[in-house]
């Protein structure tokens, strides 16, 4: 399809800044046309404008999709479900399946049931539950996953396939913060950052951004999260909890449990609750808020003032190991408060290998490596193999790799590839080892660590890190990524599953400025994967864990290694790899 006027081949169709150049008149033409308000003349005028203006076409694409989304939203996304229902209704008409099939449907005995709800595609399993047409609207947020099979009184079990609202799983990865309507034109400074996130499920799928602003609402259904305020205060949130950030010195806990650690050099951090307030006086303390608003506080170290009700109430000072229960009208210091707070992420997540016998192999780049993939000069780099499905078209002497013996680093220049959707992988740089070469048989704990000095500021979803997988479309990976195409925001730590070619469970924490020396560790300890980033320059660290990649449990050959990619840009970045270490515990 020729399109001489199209200059957007490399651009995103919905580029925000460009839309500022859409004139009000054009916007009006599009809006009137899509709402069937146009007259003949306006429609013809719009057609001419669209044919000749690729920007307007891009705008039209976004605006018409917005239009249909808006209507679909009102209809409870009925259209997609109905369409697929029709498909699978047809399939099942002549297609009786075994009840042992991996994909099953619960056929309602209600003869009026026609709708098929697509409840979720998770772990390669799908679930479908028929709904009556009327039930669609009220169940949009219900992502019930797994396998369901119910025998009905007619005993006629049929097999349906279903599909998820797959994107709902992807959506959670970005919409980090909300600028309230009346503040939306300003760009508030971040007041806190997500530092650690483990096994988190966020209500509504809204994952907070790595940097958060005042009024951000953290609704954590499960998991463990650590946020760090600009003021240096650390708050560790245990799900289920609902916390609203108020300022860099205050937050409101509507329900749930947090532990707060305030730097010794400062005081004045406040946790508000529905029935009171806790004011820090240089301390570490925990707060729980029950569903009815009752607030318990326990001081681990230092002291706090506890307030019942509004600010005018007289505070009760609590010292180390003292606790109180705060209600609207009083503070009860006699009530024992359970000391079951998680005060450090590591308390809950830093699992240690069960065995102490460890095989450690390290690779450095001092010219001593005698085998493996060769760099552009023909020097072996020490890494032996590539992640299956990647690098097939790379040169034998890989021009993207250079061993710098003098600096004792391996320089990796990223290529345009993307594990997500499996794009450009023939020239993708994903190299490392088979874990079996280190005595791994499938059961052992292991970790891989890479040191990357002086990390660059990546661009446009550029990403560098570690992978662990069976092949390119069954791999968990994590590292640092530039989330976004433009702007000066730093890299952030990310971790993501990929089972079947599409990324899922993506999560990100922390900010990693260009120029720091970074050490990344991807580990599977006691069958739990996690990614840790240690800032070797200033000593900070961040960690992530996401849904367990069960697709790797069945694999007897696992590859681990390093990758670097510039998925959406032709701007390639070079990173230096100083050391790569593999540990396998037996």
């Amino acid at each position: 399809m020729s399109d001489s006027g199209n200059s957007r081949n490399q651009d995103n169709a919905c580029s925000f800044p460009e839309f500022e150049n859409v004139s009000e008149a054009d916007w009006d033409l599009v809006d009137r046309f899509l709402s069937n308000q146009s007259n003949d003349e306006e429609a013809k005028q719009l057609e001419v404008r669209l044919k000749n203006d690729p920007l307007l076409r891009a705008f039209f694409v976004c605006y018409s999709s917005f239009f249909s989304d808006l209507q679909m939203s009102a209809r409870g996304q009925f259209a997609g479900e109905s369409a697929l229902q029709k498909v699978f209704d047809r399939q099942t008409e002549g297609n009786q399946r075994s009840t042992n099939s991996a994909v099953k449907i619960d056929e309602s005995e209600d003869s009026t049931s026609k709708g098929v709800g697509f409840n979720g595609l998770v772990n390669g399993e799908v679930t479908v539950a028929p709904r009556t047409s009327k039930s669609h609207r009220g169940t949009d947020g219900d992502h019930n996953c797994g396998i369901e099979l119910h025998r009905k009184k007619h005993g006629n079990q049929r097999v349906f396939a279903c599909l998820s609202i797959f994107a709902a799983l992807l959506v959670g990865l970005v919409l980090g913060f909300w600028i309230p309507w009346d503040q939306a034109d300003s760009t508030p400074e971040p007041i806190a950052w997500l530092v650690n996130a483990h096994d988190c499920q966020w209500a509504g799928g809204f994952v907070p951004a790595a940097n958060m602003q005042a009024n951000d609402h953290l609704d954590l259904e499960s998991g463990l999260v650590q946020i760090r305020f600009v003021s240096g205060v650390d708050v560790l949130i245990e799900g289920p909890s609902e916390l609203i950030l108020l300022s860099n010195m205050s937050a409101r806990l509507n329900r749930g449990k947090v532990s707060v650690k305030v730097p010794r050099s400062m005081t004045g951090f406040e946790i508000y609750s529905p029935q009171g307030r806790v004011l820090d006086l240089g301390t570490e303390f925990g707060v729980t808020v029950s569903d009815d608003g009752l607030t318990d506080v326990l001081v681990f170290d230092g002291e706090v003032d506890a307030f019942a009700g509004n600010d005018k109430s007289k505070p009760i000072r609590l010292l180390e190991n003292q606790s109180a229960s705060i209600s609207e009208s009083k503070i009860d210091t006699d009530k024992a408060v359970s000391n079951d707070f998680v005060r450090r992420i590591s308390d809950a997540t830093k699992l240690r290998p069960k065995t102490q016998t460890r095989q450690t192999t390290s690779i450095v780049f001092d010219g001593s490596n005698s085998d493996g993939i060769c760099d552009k000069n023909g020097h072996p780099i020490g890494f032996i193999s590539r992640l299956p499905g990647t690098g097939d078209q790379l040169h034998q002497n890989d021009t993207n790799l250079v061993v710098d013996v003098q600096s004792e680093v391996l320089r990796l220049t990223t290529t345009r590839s993307d594990i997500n959707r499996q794009a450009g992988l023939a020239t993708g740089e994903y190299f490392g080892f088979k874990l079996s070469e280190f005595g791994f048989t499938g059961e052992e704990d292991f970790s891989v660590t890479v040191e990357i000095p002086n990390i660059p500021n990546l661009e446009s979803f550029g990403q560098v890190g570690l992978y662990c997988g069976a092949k390119s479309d069954q791999v968990i990976r994590g590292g640092f990524i530039k989330w976004g195409k433009t702007g000066l925001s730093p890299n952030t730590l990310f971790m993501v599953n990929n089972d079947g070619g599409i990324d899922s469970d993506s999560n990100k924490v922390g900010l990693l400025n260009a120029g720091i020396d970074l050490q990344l560790t991807l580990s599977r300890i006691d069958n739990k994967f996690s990614l840790t980033a240690e800032n070797l320059t200033d000593g900070g660290s961040a960690s992530l864990s996401i849904r367990h990649p069960e697709y790797l449990d069945r694999q007897n050959e696992i590859h681990i290694g390093v990758f670097g990619a510039n998925p959406f840009s032709d701007v390639r970045k070079t990173v230096s790899i100083r050391k790569f270490t593999i540990n396998v515990w037996k």
Partner: protein, 187 residues
Amino acid sequence: MSDKTTLEFGSRFKEIQSRLHGYIFSLTRDLNDTDDLFQQTAVILWKKFDQFDSKKSFFSWACGISRLEVMNFLRKRSSKRLYFTDELNLQLMDSFEESNDLEFELRKSALERCKQYLRQKDRELVNECYAEKSGVQNVAERLDRSTQSIHNSLRRIRISLFECIQRTLSQAGVAESIPNPGTPGHE
């Protein structure tokens, strides 16, 4: 077809459904027609799935089929409604191809979020007007307002919502950041 094929189709369809629905809507501008054509297209895609070359873009394939369905539908229908020429429809198809599904889903989520921040009466107006084909007429009668007045209100809300989506995604660094991984730009 096998469960595996069914799953594969389902997975692929789910990946493109937002864009495909958006594309069909852009041609018909009627959600009921869009839903019907979307369903028709889904059935045809499913029937012909064994002919689909997995090395090619599923979206392009689906769009091509849906476009023909839309054209047939519009030809059969005697309507005074205005439609674009096929030449422009093809251009629009390219534009949809240049966008990507993840972004569409993000925009959809942003929309839900932005709706929460509408005034309650605006949110109710949107939901009531768009839930049914005759929604605007019904609301106009119920509120004793002209349909044009309702359309004007809806237009104001739409603009607010669209701007809110743009702001939200821009703030999150997304709006301009997710090119289509399926485009030839990838090596």
